[in-house]
């Protein structure tokens, strides 16, 4: 009898749990206003923004999906195919993608009242997307293994970095793709070839190569500023160096066509471009797009104005057209022995 009770009790608990499970499946939050942002910004940045934004707009059920730009775009494309769009706002660093989306009529036009304050090497005159952050990439190095930090791009060809340079996979990471394009545009494919001859490797996402550098698996890598800064603040064995020619990559934000949450999307973009929003961005170690926001002193970052001045140049429309070819060429070089 006792055994039987155990069985009964067990099955009741099982049922209850299963009901909970199925309920969980069914129960999507039914907030009035919803917003889903697809972004390549890491948790350390988008998390803080979310918290602030929610404080201001508690009526909006805000959620985000953070992944590399390649993955985001694949997801968007798949959603487009399946006809079930989840994304409302897109915010990542692969600028050419925004031109492409604009061309394909995938974006809603929105000119935020804050847009007039934006300083950026790239702007969309038609207002389909707006840079919301100026990402810079520096050369992150492992402070334990690299005594003298590299100062210029040619320094990376030095024998002491042999087999020690990692670049995030440009097929996966938008920043990496634009960085490669910028370097190619400025120094030519020749430079990439030389890097490879010095044993440069392709890693995965732009975060992972930084971690690999912190752990010493790599000696140097191209690192998005705020990712490196977060780790440096936590005590990682990392340093960040910026050569004279800077990799400055604006991260545009845009509203996806046909979103039912347009109002919420606009509120988010307004917040992002506002002084408060940009202050949060600046505090994580990346450059704001406004010049009226102060940067944390201890990081030694160039100011927004200065960075825009030192930035390498790129014809994004042309780059967009050549994206496949660039990726293929890069792949071929990096796979060569």
């Amino acid at each position: 009898m006792k055994r039987k009770n155990a069985v009964v009790r067990g099955s009741i608990i099982g049922m209850a749990l299963a009901v909970a499970g199925v309920a969980g499946l069914a129960g999507a939050a039914n907030g009035a206003e919803k917003l889903m942002v697809y972004t390549s910004m890491k948790e350390s940045l988008i998390g803080k923004l979310r918290d602030e934004f929610q404080k201001r707009h508690p009526e909006i059920a805000f959620d985000y999906y953070s992944a590399g730009a390649g993955k985001l775009m694949a997801k968007v494309a798949a959603e487009r195919q399946s006809g079930r769009m989840t994304v409302d706002v897109l915010w990542h660093s692969e600028v050419p993608d925004f031109y492409a989306l604009k061309r394909d009529g995938m974006l809603e036009k929105y000119v935020s009242p804050e847009a007039q304050n934006v300083r950026s090497p790239v702007k969309d005159p038609d207002g389909f997307f707006t840079p919301a952050r100026l990402g810079t990439l520096g050369i992150a190095y492992n402070t334990k293994k690299v005594a003298v930090p590299p100062k210029s791009w040619p320094d990376l060809l030095d024998a002491r970095f042999r087999n020690g340079l990692g670049i995030a996979n440009p097929a996966l990471s938008g920043t990496s793709f634009v960085s490669v394009s910028l370097l190619v545009n400025t120094f030519g494919w020749d430079y990439i070839q030389k890097l490879r001859r010095n044993g440069a490797l392709v890693g995965q996402g732009s975060g992972q190569v930084v971690d690999d550098t912190a752990s010493g698996d790599l000696l140097v890598t191209l690192a998005p500023d705020y990712i490196a800064v977060e780790k440096i603040r936590k005590g990682a064995n990392l340093g960040l160096a910026f050569p004279k020619e800077m990799l400055v990559i604006p991260s545009p934000v845009a509203i996806v066509k046909g979103t039912p949450n347009r109002k919420a999307a606009e509120k988010f973009i307004d917040f992002l471009l506002s002084k408060d929003g940009q202050t949060i961005i600046a505090s994580t170690g990346t450059l704001p797009i406004r010049s009226d926001v102060a940067l944390p002193k201890e990081l030694g970052l160039a100011s927004t104005e200065e960075a825009v001045g030192r930035a390498m140049k790129l014809d994004y429309l042309k780059t967009m057209a050549e994206k496949e070819a660039i990726l293929e060429k890069f792949d071929a070089i990096m796979k060569a022995k």
């Binding site: 055994r3 079930r84 971690d211 990392l238």
Partner: protein, 577 residues
């Protein structure tokens, strides 16, 4: 459940009775479930792979297969599966022999310990080994380089060899279980008679024991091959970084990077088709071997087998066994747990760098990880429950019912066993992305459907084993007592097979909780699972958080195992005649 949207059942044809009775309803329901959940997705994969614009297009298939990256993925899959199978077999057989045929001390404990690697999800193992053996920064490599003043790394885990090694560590129990079970049940008189006729132990082992064990060894080896061939986690963590792809990671790359374009999906389906065919061949070979293995070597009674005295080797072999467990289980687990407490990856393990902040962060503060844990929890709970019930239904029809058209179900029932997780995911995408009126894309339901398909085999196995124990006359006695078919099911059959159902539930719940291969292709912005979260955290360079979440996953698994032990002990009735 999913029935409403499926094609109408071929039910009218079933049964020669005057009424459309329970039997026909159950058969129709079972067929519909299997068709919708497994058969159509698989068919869609073949269709998408082979048919372009309504006509078969083999030329393009060949062209895609000849592309270097597809071709390489194929080759790597085969190389990895072959290597893992080979080493798992050697290790599995050796340890099985050690714990069942020698006087190794603490044999029973060791037998249990050798099953522990099964509990450790292999992608978490891979994560740990990456930390231990990555060329420059791996803790072990650094320690060795420091100790011997070496220049280059001693081991490079980012290699085919590394992938094979790590998979072997966690897959060899497949062989171990099969072989140690068979060794224990083997009739010792076979060996004894050989010994009486003067054969030495080596000769006996070579001429008698090994050949007799061959079917079990092969059965275990094929399980390993099947698993490895379609395994995502380890190659994804240790291979993609250096450009080593196998079929599942290639499919993942295609689906996640090429903007969901049709060529990408097609390449995926072609690779998947190859996986299905390979899995089918492996299973077919296995069923042949298992049939062949049924000759009378294995007696039901437990016997006292011939035991080899290890003498001087006793202690060294015990140490070797313990060392193996320490290196493959304890070391990675400790690494994961410790790294999970670090402030950031790469700093040294000093107390000032370690804290429980990460744990607090991922459990309470970070929505992504919290969601992932909750998603995995309810998805595996729901999938386990539903799959258990549906599996009971299908097994019941297959094992117990006499109804026309059953052969169809028997055929469909084999399908879940031969469809790898990656294939299921792709098929589910093709089926549930709006093409047939239901769009589950980006929802938890699509993962749910995939889990049901993926774990149906477990449920069928466990349930039909339980049902075969319940003699037909027990149910008929209820009918004769005046019970309707449903009442007989409710009062007699279900209570009697409950242990099998509970087993099925947990057989699904625990693996689903840490599932990666399928969910990694299906997750949406709000539907990451624990496995996906760990994997993407690692991919994003959040190594420390990946380790913390892995620690949580390991804790859940351990607790789950303990709970299973408890529950199954209380539900399995003593001695059912």
């Amino acid at each position: 459940m999913t029935g409403a949207s499926g094609p109408s059942a071929p039910a009218g044809a079933a049964g020669n009775g005057p009424r459309f009775g329970a039997a026909e309803v159950l058969l129709a329901l079972s067929v519909v479930v299997l068709v919708v959940v497994v058969a159509i997705p698989v068919l869609l994969i073949f269709w998408t792979a082979l048919v372009v614009d309504g006509s078969p297009n083999v030329k393009e298939v060949l062209a895609i297969l000849r592309k270097p990256d597809t071709y390489e993925a194929l080759r790597n899959s085969v190389v990895i599966a072959a290597g893992v199978t080979f080493f798992s077999t050697i290790i599995g057989v050796f340890f099985a022999w050690l714990v069942s045929r020698t006087d190794l001390p603490f044999k029973e404990t060791m037998k249990l310990l050798f099953l522990v690697p099964f509990m450790l999800p292999s992608f978490i193992g891979a994560l740990a080994w990456k930390m231990l053996l990555s060329p420059r920064s791996g803790f072990v490599n650094k320690a060795l380089a420091g100790a011997f003043g070496l220049d280059g790394p001693v081991f490079d885990i980012y290699s085919l060899g590394g992938i094979i090694a790590v998979e072997t560590m966690y897959l060899f129990p497949f062989v171990f279980i099969q072989v140690s079970g068979a060794l224990e049940r083997m009739d010792p008189t076979l060996e004894e008679s050989a010994r009486i006729s003067g054969a030495g132990l080596l000769t006996i082992t070579r001429r008698i024991t090994l050949p007799l064990m061959l079917p079990s060894i092969a059965a275990g080896a094929l399980l390993v091959a099947l698993y490895s061939l379609s395994h995502f986690g380890v190659p994804a963590i240790l291979g993609t970084e250096v450009g080593i792809y196998n079929i599942p990671t290639k499919i993942y790359e295609k689906i996640h990077q090429s903007g969901g374009s049709f060529t990408a999906i097609r390449t995926g389906t072609i690779l998947s088709s190859i996986l299905v065919v390979a899995a089918g061949v492996i299973l077919w070979a296995q069923s042949l071997l298992l049939k062949a293995g049924r000759f009378q070597v294995i007696s039901g009674k437990s016997m006292r087998p011939m035991v080899l005295k290890l003498r001087g080797l006793k202690v060294p072999l015990l140490i070797l066994s313990i060392l193996y467990i320490l290196v493959t289980v304890v070391l990675p687990t400790v690494t994961i747990v410790l790294v999970g407490t670090l402030k950031t990856y790469g700093v040294s393990f000093t107390l000032s760098n370690m804290s429980l902040d990460n744990l607090k962060y991922i459990l309470f503060d970070w929505k992504m990880t919290r969601d992932a844990i909750w998603n995995s929890f309810y998805l595996s709970l729901g999938a386990a429950f539903v799959t258990m019930l549906v599996g009971t239904l299908i097994s019941y029809v297959i094992v117990k019912m006499k109804v026309r058209g059953k052969f169809l179900l028997e055929f469909l029932g084999v399908l879940p066993f031969s469809v790898p997780g990656t294939v299921i995911a792709l098929g589910v995408i093709l089926m549930w992305s709006g093409k047939f009126g239901v769009n589950l894309y980006n929802t938890a339901w699509i993962i749910f459907v995939a889990y049901v398909a993926r774990y149906m085999a477990f449920s069928l196995k466990s349930n039909s084993a339980a049902l075969e124990q319940v003699h037909d006359s027990l149910e008929e006695a209820a009918r004769a007592s005046g019970a309707t078919h449903w009442q007989a099911l409710r009062d007699i059959v279900i209570p009697l097979i409950k242990p099998g159902m509970v087993a099925a539930f947990f057989l699904i719940f625990l693996p689903a909780l840490r599932e990666l291969t399928t969910s990694v292709l299906l997750y949406g912005p709000t539907t990451r699972t624990i496995g996906v979260a760990i994997y993407t955290l690692n991919e994003d360079g959040e190594t420390v958080y990946a380790a913390t979440l892995a620690t949580v996953a390991l804790a859940i698994i351990v607790v789950g195992q303990v709970v299973i032990k408890r529950i199954t002990r209380t539900t399995v009735p003593g001695d059912q005649a």
